[in-house]
């Protein structure tokens, strides 16, 4: 018999809807499958009915957290297709906003992880410090979360010297807070107890399942699109790819924290060498790129984001394919849910922590269908039950 207890995602622990189907034996998860149909908004179909400029605003709303990555990728894709030359100053500013978005996304993730573990003070403090980053993004682009900063051919608003200085000084203040969180992650007993050895993904599996972003880098795979396929001015800006090989949730947390520190340095570097010149190339509103296809790749906060566009010369794309980093990590997620480290099985109460660790960006009503083999009952409970329940 199947009992439904539909509970809304009362807290966007997992901001998007996915249903994990778990086979459990008592406490331990034996098998898992994923259903991501809740969030399907048919974006790729709608993109085919929009002009390139209209599509920019839709692409921005594929994911609310890493929308800067989507617009950067979309803009690069269309610029490469149409052969548009973007002024260097715009490349610097795009990098600054992209790294700011990475910072706010990682700090949001830290607060969500804290929430899943019930550490609400860390949730509140991480949220408060994230507001500083959102203030900067609002001042530069006009928007807190969705910025609409990238346009085809450059960026919409300029950054003067005073604002650049303000950004650098604000980020210096933020640095101390982030180092504080790094120390906390290293020392807090309960945080470590809930994250170490949880959500194990071996390096070989991370490579085999083509995992991306912090999930891969925490399992020793040094894959970062900014370094492997530099797109903006990443080949000039010195930064190091953050890699840990603890292969667990704790490792992913440390990767994300270190990346925030890296981003602060990258932003300082980009702002201190801001070249002169305008920020936007002249591009016709009804841009008609020549027939052809183009692939653009960007390192979104969650990992490699790839866009593919096919054009037939008209003002609308024939096909616009978007593969989000979360979809790439789904296979890795299913793997993590099934196999814990040899001496430590995956507990049902770990599921939400593991799920949060890939920083999912697919809409989640967080349903878990527990197929309890012993009792043979199928029970649909909210993921957040699982956080506390069995």
């Amino acid at each position: 018999m199947s009992i439904y207890l539909p509970i809304g995602p009362q807290h966007p622990v997992h901001p998007e809807a996915v249903q994990l189907k778990l086979k459990v034996e008592g406490e331990e998860v034996v098998d898992a499958d994923v259903d991501v149909s809740f969030v399907h908004r048919g974006i790729e179909k709608v993109l085919e009915t929009k002009t390139y400029v209209q599509g920019l605003f839709l692409a921005e709303r594929i994911c609310g957290i890493c929308n800067v990555a989507h617009t950067t990728c979309y803009a690069i894709n269309v610029e490469r297709l149409a052969g548009v030359e973007v002024p260097r100053r715009a490349l610097h500013l795009r990098l600054v906003v992209e790294e700011l978005a990475r910072m706010h996304s990682h700090m949001l993730w830290l607060s969500l992880l804290a929430h899943v573990i019930g550490f609400d003070s860390l949730f509140m403090l991480a949220q408060r410090d994230r507001e500083l980053v959102l203030d900067l993004m609002e001042e530069i682009t006009g928007g807190r979360v969705i910025t609409s900063y990238n346009v085809i051919g450059g960026v919409r608003r300029n950054v003067d010297a005073a604002l650049a200085q303000k950004i650098i000084s604000t980020l210096d203040g933020l640095r101390k807070r982030v180092l504080e969180y790094k120390r906390l992650l290293g020392e807090d007993a309960i945080l470590r107890a809930r994250t170490e050895d949880v959500g194990y993904l071996s390096s070989s599996k991370a490579v085999e399942l083509s995992a991306v972003g912090p999930v891969a880098r925490a399992s020793g795979v040094p894959y970062d699109v900014r370094e492997c396929d530099p797109y903006l001015i990443h080949d000039e800006v010195p930064f190091n790819v953050v890699v840990y090989n603890t292969c667990d949730v704790w490792g992913r947390a440390m990767v994300r924290i270190d990346e925030v520190l890296e981003s602060i340095e990258m932003i300082r570097y980009a702002l201190e060498r801001l070249p002169e010149g305008d920020v936007r190339a002249k591009v016709p509103l009804l841009i008609k790129p020549p027939p052809g296809e183009s692939v653009a790749r960007v390192e979104a906060p969650r990992g490699e984001l790839i866009h593919y566009v096919r054009s037939d010369g008209s003002e609308k794309p024939v096909r616009y394919k978007v593969r989000t980093p979360t979809l790439a990590n789904l296979a890795a997620l299913v793997e993590m849910l099934k196999t814990g480290r040899k001496d430590r099985p995956v507990y049902v109460a770990d599921v939400p922590v593991i799920f949060a660790s890939i920083d999912p960006c697919i809409c989640c009503a967080a349903r878990v269908l527990l197929i309890d083999e012993k009792r043979g009952s199928v029970k649909e409970v909210g993921m957040d039950e699982v956080v506390r329940g069995e």
Binding site: E27, G118, S121, D350, G389
Partner: protein, 318 residues
């Protein structure tokens, strides 16, 4: 003839005081947590938001109380009332007024501890009786947690009672002195940790319906039933902090007060209670949540041995 009427009025007044104290402590706890999290907390409902708990309770009382089908209606209605009465009777023995409580018996320490355990059993039936299978699991969690902290709670209370030579709370309260805290520090610590677990607060809030994440036995309750459960939870906080003050820190001031008891002893007791709430809130604000298997580990490996050690110390000291 007048005697029973007077007793009744006294009891009613004491109950009213307990309720007010419960709402005050919940407000104090929420304000403290907010301050620890660099927030303001309840602010606009009454001066500094002090009426917020009252507003919450009144709102719940005015809402529909849904009884989902497939629920054991009798138990679903009875358990909140049972929980409330048990907790209130237990609080009657604690000297909330500083120099005395409502009633004082020889051996009421044991009675209060027994009522506390009974209260937990009622919570189990509350979870079991509501239709959602899941709250049954939440309830079994509550029972499972019992193993972890019930023994340390009892041991710490009984050891301090034994060391001070009396099992009557008011007598212990009179004998206990802040300076004694040095000797009974371990007992006080064990008591606080066990109380935090009994109250289902971080890091031990595993079965209970937390504000953000729903689960556990409270999930199906709404309306007046939920209001009564929340109130009994607040009164439980009053009870445990009152007990902590009475047994470990000492009741009212020891100088004879010639009739000013109510004006001096009660505020002093209240301030000491707020102090204990401060400690519990600090614990709640600085920890995440343990998994149930980790909690049982902490309970059996650390809490229970510590309480036995304290028993030995208390016996030697007395």
């Amino acid at each position: 003839m007048l005697e029973p009427l007077l007793r009744f009025v006294q009891a009613l007044a004491y109950l009213l005081y307990t309720l007010l104290l419960a709402l005050l402590l919940e407000w104090f706890d929420r304000k403290l947590i907010a301050k620890f999290q660099n927030r303001v907390g309840p602010h606009y409902t009454g001066p500094a938001g002090i009426l917020q708990p009252l507003a919450d309770v009144l709102k719940l009382l005015s809402k529909e109380s849904v009884v989902p089908e497939g629920t054991d209606r009798l138990m679903f209605t009875l358990s909140p009332l049972l929980a409330f009465t048990i907790i209130c009777t237990a609080t009657a023995f604690v000297p909330l007024l500083g120099y005395r409580g409502l009633v004082s018996l020889e051996g009421d320490v044991i009675l209060v501890l027994a009522l506390l355990t009974l209260y937990l059993l009622v919570i189990y039936t509350a979870g079991a009786s509501s239709s959602s299978r899941f709250s049954l699991i939440g309830a079994t969690r509550a029972a499972l947690m019992l193993l972890g902290f019930e023994i340390p709670l009892m041991l710490s209370c009984l050891s301090v009672a034994a060391s001070l030579g009396s099992f009557r709370i008011s007598e212990i309260a009179a004998k206990a002195q802040p300076r004694l805290l040095g000797i009974h520090a371990l007992g006080f610590l064990v008591y606080l940790v066990a109380a935090q677990a009994e109250l289902d607060r971080q890091p031990f809030d595993i079965p209970e319906a937390e504000t953000e994440i729903v689960s556990g036995w409270l999930v199906e309750y709404s309306g007046w039933r939920l209001a009564i459960f929340r109130l009994s939870k607040d009164i439980e906080l009053v009870l445990l902090t009152g007990l902590a003050v009475a047994l470990f820190i000492g009741g009212g001031p020891n100088v004879p007060l010639q009739g000013f008891e109510l004006a001096i002893a009660t505020p002093v007791f209240l301030i000491k209670q707020l102090l204990v709430v401060f400690i519990l809130s600090l614990i709640r604000a600085s920890f995440g949540r343990l998994r149930i298997d980790q909690f049982i580990g902490v309970g059996w490996r650390a809490l229970i041995p510590a309480s036995f050690l304290y028993l030995v110390i208390a016996a030697l000291v007395a």
